[in-house]
Amino acid sequence: MHLRRSVSTVAVLVAGALSLAACGGGSSSSGSSSGKKEFTIGFQGPLSGDNAQLGINGQLGVKTAIDEANKKGNLPFTLKLKSSDDIGKPEQGATAAQRLVDDSSVIAMVGPMFSGATKAAEPTFSDASMLSVSPSATNPTLTSLGFKTFYRVIATDAIQGAGAADYLAKGLKAKTVYSLDDKSEYGTGLSGAIESQLKTDGVAVTHDGIPPTKDYTAQADKIIAAKPDALYYSGYYAEFGLLVKALKGKGFKGIIASGDGSNDDKFTAAAGAANAEGVYLTCPCGDANTDPKAAAFLKAYQDNNAGAKPGTYSPESYDATNAIISVLKADSTRASVAAAFKTVDYPGITKQVKFTSNGETEDKGVFIYQVKSGKRVVLGSTTDLVK
């Protein structure tokens, strides 16, 4: 009887396969028709699981840059994208990286996005001399672990943390700061950097952590009871939005600030415009709202991705991809791209993409944003604001 069931299951599967073949026929990719050489740029990030949205933001940023380059058509090669999903987890990071390395057409890659997955993946990239440019892995130690081909277009937590702390202490004159992180690798890295700088600036710091949740009401009670001048949250926009909502709901009057993980218009939506008003955001990235280049990016992104809006780390991914394209030549190999990237100097939309010898960006500016009438407005760089 079981065998019959298996037979019917097989029949179902075969029928399904045939039917899908009927409708999927048109979607197979057509080869490069222009006769130019075709390179593949890899992308690795969390494309499924809880953090899929951040991965999709990055992936579409890469795709935008590739589509633009192909449309312009002035390059001696055409480009293709190959994505590899690591779910944002270290245990999938190495396999995801190996998948890109195995594909001999992949010349360089953007990612990995998360620091944990980066630590798991980089030995593989180093081994294959494949250039990897992360748009978002900010853990300070990553460039000191001996990875040969690792670069990142985003300043580390240490730099952002120092800038943010100085602004809180000297710009906003906060005497007591409540530093809260989301217990993730990103969050703890950033909160650690802020706290050490705040202490050198003579500010009293309370440290606390809460893993991502939706219910921040009890946490809000606790923060309000501590009566800090300022709260700094190290984590992502979805949770920061809920936290701000809970804080305002409980009547918190102090300064509220967060970092690049929250520097997204979706934060305002998540918190509600009224609650988000006056909130500070720090980011080691230039002003994406007023820069004409950024406006062009916004348009290109929406044109190439069915109207989707860019999100956190989309601009960085776009910059990383364009910087890679700027060093590509028709006869490039993985090793030659990795070597050429050392001296890359590309004007990106978030910063001038240029690296120190260990793979950190030279541009170390940290910018302060504030939500005013529901919009994020840049106030300036911390070096200008804190004098």
């Binding site: 079981h2 065998l3 019959r4 069931r5 037979v7 019917s8 299951t9 029949a11 179902v12 029928a15 399904g16 396969a17 039917s19 899908l20 073949a21 009927a22 409708c23 999927g24 026929g25 979607s27 197979s28 494309l47 499924s48 699981g49 899929a52 999709i56 994505s83 590899s84 999903d85 944002g88 987890k89 270290p90 245990e91 990071g93 190495a94 396999t95 190996q98 998948r99 390395v101 195995d102 620091s115 944990g116 630590k119 798991a120 030995p123 593989t124 081994d127 853990n139 130690t141 672990l145 217990k183 993730s184 690798e185 969050g187 703890t188 890295g189 952590g209 893993p211 989707a308």
Partner: protein
């Protein structure tokens, strides 16, 4: 031809499934246009294909049912099945088939791409080992453990503690070669199993499940919060790879190559399977079976149930700890690796493969984890590429379909298939795990 009410219902169900398939494979929606995905999937010509597909499925199933009615016991498929069974039951056939499978496990990886080899070690091999351990707890003893991955975490962190001076903020006063950590980690994990099991194994059924779930969560949270011990969410980077120094014989396992690790793991898997099959037939195994079937009766006939349950728990925990060592020497990890979802995945593999059957649980790991890997590439012959973000829709669907059509798992143990067959005939329950409600005060 007039259809009966039942057949009409079945036809409707098949068409409904066709529409569902259309939605799953169709375009995605967004939060601003939550119905756009569904509209794009259903108000499109493609929906005809899927309705046709539903119709074909129904027609095939209908035809099969018809054939089955006339075929009775002597039909061709029944004969075929009988032939296969006699062939398998012949003396010597089983060892031969096992050898053939082992040969496949040895040779096939050589033909795979490095990424697939890596996945074979990390996703399939390690999870097969974990599943074998959990199988002792769930399959043999009938205890539902939802925090099993905690012991895996313990194994991994013990490895980091004893082998590396830099991976964790603290390290052992003397560093060991990873091979010597195996017994240490196994002992620590078994001890943790006994400490957890001692007070909680008196609880039955689902109460035990929630307590073990809590234990798993606590271990993960402690790993995340104890920055000074576990390095918190930054994880343990720099655990050395395996290496052997036996006099003149020296071999260092290269961390970026998967095959040496894979063959080591394969050897371990074979040894563990042999050991567990002996265990099942031993006094302990029979005692566990008695506990699983009817704990009260077992206790009444003089089986010290608590002690045997602890033994099962410790064996499962130590297997998990062992796997943790192997994992840590190959791969960077952080607390997110040891999530409740990972525990659930191991349990799913055990049940999917066939609870109680050693070969079944290994096959479960191969099929389920292999599926997760294969779905990353276009489906062969069809060319349809599953979007990464949608992968777990298909994964979930396969699990449901499997449980609907083969609730006993891919390769059920003989004892379990008999239990299920009896229950289908209405004689007794198919349960190895007694529910809390069956405990009468």
């Amino acid at each position: 031809m007039r259809l009966s009410v039942l057949e009409t219902k079945r036809l409707a169900a098949c068409l409904g499934l066709g529409l569902l398939l259309a939605v799953i494979t169709g375009p995605s929606g967004s939060q601003d246009h939550p119905s756009s995905g569904i509209r794009g999937s259903l108000l499109d010509v493609r929906v005809v294909d899927f309705l046709l597909f539903g119709l074909v499925v129904w027609a095939l199933a209908f035809g099969l049912r018809r054939a089955r009615q006339t075929e009775a016991v002597s039909g061709p498929t029944a004969q075929l099945r009988q032939t296969v069974r006699t062939a398998l039951d012949r003396r010597g056939a089983r060892p031969t088939s096992y050898l053939a499978m082992l040969l496949v496990a040895i040779l096939v990886p050589l033909a795979l791409a490095p990424a697939a080899q890596l996945s074979l070690f990390l996703d399939i091999g390690i999870y097969a080992l974990l599943a074998l351990g959990l199988n002792v707890v769930v399959g043999y003893a009938g205890l539902l453990d939802l925090g099993y991955i905690a012991f895996y975490a313990i194994g991994a962190y013990v490895t980091a503690y004893f082998t590396s001076a830099s991976a964790l903020p603290i390290h052992a006063p003397f560093l060991l070669n990873p091979f010597f950590v195996f017994p240490v980690a196994v002992a620590v994990a078994a001890l943790a199993g006994i400490i957890l099991g001692g007070p909680t194994l008196r609880l039955r059924g689902d109460y035990l499940a929630i307590v073990t779930l809590g234990f798993g969560e606590i271990v993960q949270i402690l790993a995340r919060n104890s920055d000074g011990v576990t390095n918190g969410s930054r994880g343990a980077f720099g655990v050395p790879g395996l290496s052997m120094h036996l006099g003149p014989l020296e071999y260092v396992f290269p961390r970026t190559k998967a095959l040496p690790y894979y063959y080591l793991l394969l050897t371990i898997l074979v040894l563990v399977m042999i050991a567990f099959s002996q265990l099942e037939r031993s006094r302990v195994g029979r005692a566990l079976a008695a506990i699983r079937e009817d704990e009260v009766a077992a206790e009444a006939s003089g089986v010290p149930t608590l002690r045997y349950k602890l033994v099962a728990f410790a064996i499962g925990a130590s297997t998990s700890g062992f796997a943790g060592v192997l994992f840590a020497t190959k791969q960077f990890f952080n607390p997110e690796t040891f999530s409740l979802q990972a525990s659930i995945l191991v349990l799913t593999i055990v049940i999917f493969g066939g609870m109680g059957s050693l070969f079944g649980v290994v096959l479960g790991a191969v099929v389920l984890q292999g599926l997760a890997y294969v779905l990353r590439d276009p489906i062969p012959f069809i060319g349809f590429q599953v979007a990464d973000a949608d992968r777990f829709i298909y994964f979930g669907a396969v699990i449901i379909i499997m449980m609907v059509f083969r609730p006993q798992g891919l390769v059920p143990s003989r004892r379990r298939s008999r239990e299920i067959k009896l229950s289908e005939q209405g004689l007794g329950h198919a349960d190895a795990i007694t529910g809390a409600s069956e405990v009468k005060p």
